[in-house]
């Protein structure tokens, strides 16, 4: 075996001892190691972090594939062209795959460098983060910015806290927020549709280039229909538009037990509840006001579903107590709607809502734990 012959060089005293973490990552990627239990339980559940992360990636594939198709669809729509399903998909794949590759290559590169410098193992966290980053970016993003985001997220989102499991904010969202505030012109406005010129075609008149969230601020009735938003036939970040694709992912995450159903359900409840409250308080004379948006629209619009399913459920940055998960999820839903309705500058409220609640998650857990301790004391 190649791996076995190379192994001695990477062990203590070997020629490439320093690179042991990198070798180890590769080896354990190929082989589940033959390590056996020696303390405590003698048998172990078959799930490890690699399997958990792999499951999340599988759960992300519906959004990735739909996103690829939608990139092509939006592109040809803008030029008023009718092309086949395959052409739509191929166009999107050409645009999206480089972004995915850059995200993984740069992010994993940084992880390996940190692992080698600090002599720890390469953790699996980036397998998911590396896929999340492309899915929440506009397709027109320059590749160097993808690389920059990957570096930022790995270094400042994770490694400075001690690596996977130690960060308190979702690294992928942090990367997006970083790009959003550092390069607003690349992240807002007319960036959602790939407008590579098509010879012989010009942009159609109806093309606006705006996401539904921009329309929503001025006149919610001008948004695409709820049905189109559910399927995701609209402009937006690569992977976020289709609520349906997110729903498939949610089913897998909940079914396998990798994602917390409590958080996903709580996010939806929070958004629905706040949406209903907004409806109640909406100014009766301005029927186009954002507050009149039917509550369920909030679940379909923009990146809400994507955020609730894949971002809010990140177990490291979410609340960790079971009761805390409910509070955390509900507040994400509430803040998403509040930000969307009252703050036109940041139409994508879900991103900020999740980051905000990431910061508050430890506090929520603290309150839950204190309450638990109080209840325990009372019981005695």
């Amino acid at each position: 075996m190649l791996v076995d012959t190379a192994k001695p060089h990477f062990h203590k005293g070997g020629r490439f001892e320093k690179f042991h973490p990198a070798f180890d990552a590769l080896e354990t990627f190929l082989f589940v190691p033959g390590h056996t239990t020696h303390n405590g339980v003698h048998i172990r559940d078959a799930m490890d972090l690699k399997r958990a992360m792999f499951t999340v990636i599988v759960a992300l594939t519906p959004t990735l594939f739909f996103g690829m198709w939608n990139v092509g669809y939006q592109h040809y729509q803008a030029y008023g062209m009718q092309v086949s399903f395959v052409d739509n998909f191929l166009f999107g794949a050409q645009r999206v795959l480089p972004i995915v590759i850059v995200s993984y290559a740069v992010g994993l590169g940084v992880e390996f460098i940190f692992a080698i410098l600090r002599g720890h193992q390469v953790s699996e966290g980036y397998l998911v983060t590396g896929m999340l980053i492309p899915l929440i970016l506009p397709v027109t993003i320059p590749l160097w910015m993808v690389g920059l985001a990957a570096i930022f997220c790995t270094v400042l989102g994770k490694e400075i806290f001690g690596g996977t499991g130690m960060n308190f904010m979702n690294p992928a969202l942090l990367a997006r927020a970083f790009l959003f505030f550092a390069f607003p012109s690349y992240m807002t406005g007319d960036v959602w549709v790939d407008l590579t010129p098509e010879p012989g075609h010009t942009l159609v008149d109806a093309y606006s280039g705006a996401t539904s969230l921009v329309a929503f601020d001025t006149n919610w009735e001008a948004m695409p229909s709820a049905w189109r938003q559910f399927w995701g036939f609209e402009a937006g970040s690569i992977g976020e538009t289709s609520t349906f694709a997110c729903l498939l992912g949610a089913l897998l995450l909940i079914g396998t037990g990798v994602g917390s159903w409590k958080i996903i359900v709580a996010c939806c409840l929070g958004a629905l509840g706040m949406g209903l409250l907004m409806n109640g308080l909406a100014p009766a004379d301005v029927t186009t006001h954002a507050m009149h948006t039917p509550a369920y629209y909030h679940l379909l619009m923009g990146g809400f579903a994507f955020g609730a399913v894949y971002m809010a459920t990140d177990p490291v940055s979410a609340a960790q107590t079971e009761r805390g998960k409910w509070i955390y999820g509900i507040l994400i839903g509430v803040f998403t709607v509040v930000l969307r309705v009252f703050n036109p500058a940041y139409p994508e409220g879900v991103m900020l809502a999740i980051l905000l609640m990431n910061v508050f998650a430890p506090l929520i857990d603290h309150v839950v734990v204190e309450q638990h301790i109080k209840n325990r004391a009372k019981r005695a």
């Binding site: 239990t37 699996e124 966290g125 996977t164 960790q320 005695a380």
Partner: protein, 453 residues
């Protein structure tokens, strides 16, 4: 039958190799051993020397920190060897049993009901049976001077492949009853017995005649519902500075013999279980028996892991080893030291996981042949809510573990460190995606509050 306490959280690990209801008595091995390491924190001081003749029931060492606590020889014969380890620590006291039949230190046969508490304590200490009474917190041998808040006995074991305790007790109901009577004297009105709820059982309230029915409890649910610590948690949670005692049912039988038969007869019924055992069944053997006499010829070929106890909490052993003092079960499973190509990527129809990330969840009724592979490497805490699913206690497992890692005594106390034992967290360790050694951390926490608290 009283109302059962239903525990929802937990998990029954379904393994291949459950012991069939066949009981074989094995002859005494040609050498037996008493192992001080079976007794946590006991510092042995020898009472015998090599070459000396001993009787069955004669103390061979006592505990330096509490001289009343003694451990007796299970056989009569000649002390052959004292095996010592590092720093001259005593590992084994090997005794060659009499071939002609065992001679016992004999005591008058009495009904413990007629004895005073002092007389019972005295007899248990002298007869080498006191060490069967252990305390929580810390899982140590009970201190005779303590007044326990209660004495608890769990009459069923829910661990993987666990022996059917009712089947074992059914062999010697009178001795079990006598043992219960003795314990009842130690804590009048505070002896609690738990039975498996919702199932027909061989042991019923008639067999526990002298225990008031409010002290007979029924528990229902998956493992660890049978753990005595989990039951105590639901019946009478341990607070700071409180002590409860507990005894394993089979050890109650041995205590009962001391009164009814007037001798320390240290025979135990042990279930030989696991996927590598050709015919899993029950054996009647002597404490300290050489394991080879139990295992040789009865195991499959290949690299095996022999465990004294159940697969979650037991201790790695070998056929050269001797049966431990509190052991009711031997489990033999294959070692899993072969790397598996892209193992984390495969469908994994034969891999057991509580999560449904492997397709084995499609076959919920199946029994598994698990090996000792770790299935991954240790990582930081990432997944949440996993431990909570398998811990039927009002305790926040991860929060408690973090308090232990931070060595924060006040926090540990607030979070219930006194109510837990390593075995209650074994399933948490089993399910842990990050492969964290949960039982070791709990053990460190308990030791820390015991010494520093």
């Amino acid at each position: 039958m009283g109302k059962a306490i239903k525990l929802r959280r937990g998990y029954d690990i379904n393994l291949v190799g459950k012991a069939g209801y066949v009981l074989t008595s094995l002859p005494v091995s040609d050498v037996i051993a008493v192992k001080p390491a079976d007794f946590k924190l006991v510092v042995p001081k020898l009472l015998v020397e090599v070459g000396q003749e001993v009787l069955a029931g004669q103390p061979v060492f006592y505990d330096k920190s509490n001289q009343a606590i003694k451990v007796a020889s299970p056989v009569s014969g000649e002390v052959a060897e004292v095996v010592r380890g590092e720093k001259r620590r005593i590992l084994e006291i090997r005794i060659i049993p009499d071939r002609a039949g065992l001679r016992y230190v004999s005591y008058p046969q009495v009904d413990p009901v007629g004895l005073s508490r002092e007389a019972i304590v005295e007899r248990l200490l002298e007869g080498g049976c006191w060490n069967y009474i252990r305390q929580r917190p810390y899982t140590l041998i009970a201190t005779p001077e303590d007044t326990p808040k209660g004495i608890f006995i769990s009459c069923f074991d829910t661990a993987p492949l666990a022996p059917d305790i009712e089947y074992i007790l059914d062999q010697e109901k009178e001795n079990f009853q006598a043992g219960l009577d003795a314990l009842h004297k130690l804590a009048p009105g505070r002896l609690h017995v738990s039975l498996r709820g919702g199932a027909d059982s061989r042991i019923n309230e008639a067999d526990l005649a002298d225990i008031p029915s409010e002290n007979i409890h029924y528990f229902q649910g998956p493992h660890p519902a049978g753990n005595v610590g989990v039951q105590i948690h639901h019946l009478s949670p341990i607070r700071k500075d409180e002590v409860v005692w507990y005894v394993q049912p089979q050890d109650v039988v041995i205590m009962g013999r001391l009164f009814r038969e007037g001798r320390y007869r240290a025979e135990r019924i042990v279930a030989l279980t696991g996927s590598c055992v050709k015919e899993p069944q029950y054996y009647r053997v002597l404490t300290g028996q050489k394991l080879g006499t139990l295992l040789d010829g009865r195991l499959a070929e290949g690299k095996l892991r022999i465990v004294q106890g159940n697969i979650l909490t037991g201790v790695t052993s070998s056929s050269e080893d001797f049966l431990s003092h509190y052991c009711n079960q031997l489990t033999v499973v294959p070692e899993g030291d072969e790397p598996e190509f892209l193992g984390w990527l495969l469908p994994g129809v034969n891999k057991l996981s509580l999560s449904r990330t492997y397709f084995s969840w499609l076959f919920p009724k199946r029994s598994y042949q698990l090996d000792t592979n770790m299935h991954g490497e240790e990582r930081a805490f990432v997944m949440t809510g996993q431990y909570d699913q398998v811990l039927p206690m009002d305790i926040m497992p991860v929060v408690l573990l973090k308090a232990i890692l931070a060595r924060d005594i006040e926090r540990m106390e607030q979070l219930g460190i006194y109510e837990v034992a390593e075995e209650d967290f074994a399933l948490c360790e089993f399910v842990c995606t990050s492969k964290i050694e949960v039982q070791r951390i709990i053990s460190e926490g308990l030791e820390y509050v015991r010494t520093e608290g």
